[in-house]
Structures are given as C-alpha cells and as structure tokens.
C-alpha cells in the first residue's frame, strides 16, 4: 500500500500495486478540480521546478496547474530561455538548481536518460516528463486512468497503438504499464517506424492498422512528426494517412464501444480524421483533464515517498 518511490523515472520501475495506488489517488484528486476553490494545502511550502528543455504546452501546463492546486510553489524554466543555450552542461544546470533547494524537479529533455542522470546526482525528487524516445510515464498513467474510467478495468483489454512506434516515448511507457495491468497490447505502424525487438516488451506487432484495430477496446493513435515527411521513414503524409490513419471505416473494425485516444497534439487528416477525432468514441479531452489529477497524484506521492520506505 505504501508508495516508496522518491523519483518517477518511468513506468518500467513501477509495480502493478504502485500504478493502482497512483490511479486511485488521482481519482480522489479529480474532485478538487471541479470545486469553486481549486486548492488544497497538501504541498504547502514545497518548491517544484518544471525544467522543460523541449517544447511542451499540455504537459508543462498540466504539471504547473497540478502543483499550484496542491499549494506548492511552481517555477518554470525552458530550454530556449535558459543558460543551456549559452553552453551550460546539464549537470552544471542541475547543480545550480539544487542549491536553490527545490523539493521536486519535473524534467523534460530530448536525451533519453537525462532524468535518471539527475536523479543520481540530486537530493530532490525527479519526475520524468518525457525523455527522448524513452519514457513519458505521466502520459501513460493518465491514458490508463482514462481507460479504467471508461472500461472499468484494464485486465484483458485489447489496446491498439498505431503510429511512429520507434520515436514514441508514450508507447514505451504504455507498454510497461499496460502489460503490468494485464492488457493485451497490439502495435501497428510502417516498417520504418517499428523498432525490431519491440515485441519483447510485451506486444503483438502488425504492419496493417486493420489487424491491430480489429476487436480492440481501445485505439490509441500517435502523432506523426511532420518534420519526418520526405525523409526515408515516410514518403508523404497523404500516403501515411491512407495506410495508417484512423478513419470511420477502420474504426468500425474495433468493438462497437471502443474508445479513441490520442496523446496530442493531433495532426487532423494525417493520423486521425476529424470525424473520428470529434466523434462520439473519442476521449481525447478526457485524457487531458485526467492529466492534471494524475500529476497531482505523482507530486503528492513522491513528496512522502522517501519516508514511506520502512
């Protein structure tokens, strides 16, 4: 029952029980977000630094709101506006942050493993808000909370994840977490975007979106990074949309009550048609809403996590 993690570096390191506790805690925090006074004093006096060395709107805003609703002081630094552009190393930046005595650093970084590197060197808690193509644990946790709300359970669900599997940290975090929660994960994407050996993380690999989506309870579409167009990975966006985009015809193959998810930001008309994105099966904004509650749960649980080790 007790949570004994000081850091949240990835869902790889969380147990099924940890994930359940995070989801249950998030459910309790959801209520605060609908009050007229959206603030509780739980983390009063704690300082949280959101260090985003990569662009982000949703995740950063979500972490910042989560911290503020728990009464923590949140401070943001972004890569483009910091000394990183003047050539400072990550370690030096971190050391300078540390002597200002933050309690939690939330970090997004383009290099896989950057949060781990900081966690080994700093005294405060570190939460990974996305590192390279490695993990994005809070996204996977909010995805699973959304699935649980709509399906009542995760055990036995068929989850199809479609898109650029190779470059997606969302996929890796979801793979670890969904497998621990007992889901049956199916991946689909072009061969150029499917890393070899990914099935060893616990997934069935398809190169046809229809095979993955067939009878699925959950269809999760991934963002195609537009800048990859014209590179060897992806000839044209039109071709991608035709073979791997989710439209009404493909969605019909899934279960009638299947939900459609997307971590955002969406490329309408590329990986997902507008009809599906705005259709009755989409829960995309519900994911964003759950993001605040999940991040409140993570901030709360790591704040007491060190003491809980007994």
């Amino acid at each position: 029952m007790a949570f004994n993690h000081k850091h949240i570096l990835g869902t790889e390191y969380l147990s099924r029980e940890d994930i359940q506790l995070i989801l249950d805690t998030a459910e309790s925090f959801r209520e605060i977000n609908t009050r007229s006074i959206k603030k509780v004093p739980t983390l009063r006096g704690k300082t949280i630094i959101n260090a985003f060395f990569e662009n982000s709107t949703r995740t950063r805003l979500s972490f910042e709101i989560a911290g503020k609703r728990l009464s923590a002081d949140t401070v943001n630094i972004s890569g483009s506006a910091s000394s990183v552009t003047k050539g400072e190393t990550l370690e030096d930046t971190a050391r300078n942050i540390e002597v200002m005595h933050p309690d939690i650093i939330v970090i997004r970084h383009g290099h896989s493993g950057a949060p781990h590197y900081l966690a080994e060197r700093l005294n405060c808690s570190v939460i990974n808000a996305g590192d390279g193509a490695h993990e994005h644990p809070s996204q996977a946790l909010l995805d699973i909370l959304t699935m649980r709300q709509h399906k009542g359970k995760i055990d036995g669900l068929k989850v199809a994840i479609v898109g650029d599997i190779a470059h997606s940290r969302v996929v890796r975090s979801n793979l670890y977490a969904l497998n621990k929660m007992g889901a049956d994960v199916h991946l689909a994407g072009p061969g150029t975007m499917m890393p070899s050996g990914i099935e060893r993380l616990g997934a069935t690999v398809h190169y046809d979106i229809r095979a993955a989506v067939k009878d699925a309870d959950v269809v999760m579409m991934l963002r195609i990074q537009l800048e990859r167009q014209g590179m060897t990975l992806l000839p044209t966006l039109r071709e991608y949309a035709r073979f791997f985009g989710l439209n009404d015809d493909v969605l019909k193959l899934a279960k009638a009550d299947a939900i459609v998810m997307h971590p955002g930001p969406m490329n309408r008309g590329v990986e997902i048609s507008s009809a599906v994105a705005d259709g009755p099966q989409n829960v995309i904004l519900g994911q964003v809403e759950n993001g605040v509650a999940v991040r409140m749960a993570l901030l709360y649980l790591v704040s007491g996590g060190e003491q809980a080790v007994e």
Partner: protein, 178 residues
C-alpha cells in the same frame, strides 16, 4: 486483535451513546433545520450514518449526510509519508448550514483542525459542531467537542480501538495498553 484490552463500550453501549448524542444534536439546534452531518474517514463516516438514522427515527427528517477525507490537509506529510487519499463526498452545499463533524476518537485535535480547514475550502458553513464517540484527552490544539459519547482519560501510549463489523456497524470500543 479485537479480543485484547479492556472493553469500554459494548454494542449496546455504543448504540445508547449515539442515541443520546442524536437527542443532544436535536436539542442544541432546536430541531434539525439546516443541520447536516459530515463524518471523517475512516470510522467517523460510519458513525455519522448511524447518527443520521437515529435522528431520522426521532424527528422523521433525513438530515444531509457527507463524508470527508482529511489526508490532503494533514500537517505531517514530511514525518509520516504519503497516505492513500480517500474520497470526499459532500452532495449538498455547505453554505449557511450547521455542520456536525463526526469522528470516532478525539485525541490531539489535529484531525479536527484539518477537517475544519477542508470544510472551509468547500463552502461557508454557518457553524461547525463536533461530535465524537470517545474523547481520550491529550489535546494539542484548542479544540473541544460539543457532543461526547464517553470521556475516557488515557495514557499517551495507550490506543483506542473502535471495532466495526463487516457491514461497518460499530461492535465495541476497546482500550489497548501498550
């Protein structure tokens, strides 16, 4: 566990104490108009349910009933760690209501402080009153109950165990010596 220690109240004793408290709540508030019960998790919520039933039996009025979880308002996150957070469910407006907070055991008063802060964040009650089954002393804050089932002087290292059955009905109260 339940077999240990000294029996303070048996099932009938708990029921009589709650019946008396129900009468006192009605008397103090001259009826139950604008009165609502809010039980503190866990233990107080079950007692509040019983109190509401008793009040309904006497006055023929169902008073609004809510439960509150005070984990988010604790002052010991650093020393005790992150406890699981329960649900707060108050399905009515607190504004201008006379709220009777219900808890099983009153000890340091810190739980009640947290519960009052939590209530204030949810609305603006006209008054907050406090009802407890056992007052065991050792207050660390200037808080006193309005309705008490049993005053029980204890040593600081003793423990009060309010035992519930499978349906969350109180069975008995025991004093455990350490």
């Amino acid at each position: 566990m339940a077999e240990q220690g000294t029996l303070i109240l048996d099932k009938a004793g708990v029921r009589r104490a709650l019946t008396r408290i129900a009468h006192e709540i009605i008397e103090r508030n001259k009826g139950v108009e604008n009165v609502a019960l809010v039980g503190i998790r866990s233990g107080g919520d079950d007692l509040a349910k019983l109190l509401a039933r008793q009040i309904a039996a006497i006055e023929n009025i169902e008073v609004p009933l809510g439960t509150i979880d005070i984990t988010m308002y604790r002052d010991d996150l650093d020393s005790r760690g992150s406890k699981p957070i329960g649900k707060t469910e108050i399905p009515f407006s607190l504004d201008d209501m006379k709220i009777v907070l219900v808890d099983d055991v009153l000890f340091t008063g810190r739980t009640i402080r947290a519960a009052m802060d939590a209530l204030m964040d949810l609305g603006r009650p006209r008054a907050i009153q406090l009802s407890v089954l056992i007052d065991r002393g050792h207050r660390e804050l200037p808080i006193r109950p309005d309705f008490v089932g049993r005053n029980l002087p204890t040593a600081i290292n003793e423990k009060i165990d309010v035992v519930f059955d499978g349906e969350r009905n109180p069975l008995e109260v025991r004093l455990i010596k350490s």
